[in-house]
C-alpha cells in the first residue's frame, strides 16, 4: 500500500530541512535525520489527516514509524 503523497512530501521536506537525502522505502528515518522526537509529533498529525486513521498516544513511538515501509504496515494494521 503506497502512502498518500502528502505524507511522503512531509518526510522529504523534513529530511531536506535537516540536510538529509530524500528517504527510501527502507531507510531508518530517525538515523538519516528525516524525523526526530519533535518532528514525529507533527508527522503523526499529518499521517492522521492524510489517511484518516487515529493514532493512539501509546502508539506514538519511533518503533512504529522507523521507515516508510513500517509506516505503511502500521497504517494498514489500523484500517
Amino acid at each position: 500500500m503506497a502512502l498518500p503523497q502528502g505524507i511522503i512530501d512531509f518526510l522529504n521536506e523534513s529530511a531536506r530541512s535537516n540536510g538529509a537525502e530524500q528517504p527510501g522505502t527502507t531507510d531508518d528515518l530517525f538515523q538519516m535525520g528525516a524525523l526526530d522526537s519533535f518532528a514525529l509529533v507533527d508527522f503523526v498529525t499529518v499521517l492522521e489527516q492524510e489517511t484518516g486513521i487515529s493514532v493512539p498516544d501509546g502508539d506514538v513511538n519511533p518503533a512504529n514509524f522507523q521507515s516508510i515501509e513500517q509506516i505503511e504496515r502500521y497504517v494498514e494494521s489500523k484500517r
Binding site: S37, F38, L40, V41, D42, V44, T45, D57, G58, V60, N61, P62
Partner: protein, 336 residues
Amino acid sequence: MKAFVTGSGKFLPERIVSNEEIAERLGLSPEQIFKSSGIRRRRWAESGTTTSALAAEALRLALEDARLLAEDMDYLLFGTMTPDRFIPGSSPSVQKALGLREIPCLDIRATCCNALYGLQVAKALVTSGAARRVAVCLAEIQSAWLDLSPQSGTISMLFGDGAASLIVSDEAADGALEIMDVHLATDGSYVDDLGVRCPGTQFGAKGVDAESANSADYLARMNGQSVILQASRKIVAASQRVLERNSLAAADVRWMVPHQANANLLAQVARGLRFPTDKDGVVSVLEDTGNTSSASMGIALDTLRRSGRIQSGDYLLLPAFGAGFTWGAGLCRASV
C-alpha cells in the same frame, strides 16, 4: 460561587548559574544546552536552604499583592517534588514561618502539574464554601538532587530552583483572574519514564550508597523521547478539551502560561494548538530560570501579572505535563 487568583508572588535564589558554568561538567557545550532547551541560566539555592523557606518568601509577596495578612488564610496547599524532609510534608514549615493560623496544610505531589492541581483544589475549596482564601505555594530546590556528570547531562542542564505562590479567594479584586476551569488526567503506565525512584517501598527505602547497585535509583531519570512525544500530544489534547467545554478556541486565548519545561516543547504545543505566536502570547521565563518544575507556571504567571499587560476579559490558558505521567490545562479570565 466563583474562585479568583487575587495575588501572586515569586522568589528566586540569588545565585545565577549560567550554561557556561556547568556545561563542561555535564559533557555539553553552553550552546548545546540553549539549543536543546531554550535555557541560558538558572538559579540555584545555597546549600542548606530549605524549599519551604523559598515558598514562604513567595507567599509573603503574594499576600502583599493580594493586600491580605497571613491570618486571613483559611487553607494552605504546597506543591513540591523536593520537600524539606521525607515526612511530614513541607506545608507545616510554611505555616510556621509565616505565622498562619492553625489551618489545614496539605502537600501535593503532582510534579510539574502541581500548579494546576493546586488551582483545581483551591477552586473546589472556595466554591464549596470550605475555605474563603487559599494559599497555593509552589517551590523547588532541585539543585540539591542533581548529578553534575555527563551521564546525567541532558537532565541536569534543565533544572533550576525557585518558588511562586498564588492566593485564591472567593472575592475578585484589582487584577484578579477568575479560575474558570481546570482539566487534569493521568496515565500511570509511564510512571518510570520520568522521576526519582528512591527512597520508596518499591525500589528501596534505605539511604543512598554510592557503591550499591541501586544508586542510580536515587537520581533523576528521564526517557526524553517518551516525555516529548507524550507531552506534545497530551498537552494539546487537554488544552483543546478545556477550551471546547468553555466554548472557546485557541484564537480566543490572549496568553498561554505553560509549565516551563523546554522551549522546543512550548513551541511544539503552540504549533499543535495553532496558537497565534505573533503577539508574544506564549509567556516564557525559561531562558532565565530553567525548568523550576512545580514552581514554573506560578513564576511565569506572576511575571505576566506584574508586567501590567493583562487586560480585562483576557483569557489565559495554563497547560502542563509532568511525571506520572500527569497532564492538564487550566483556563482563567481576567475579571477586573
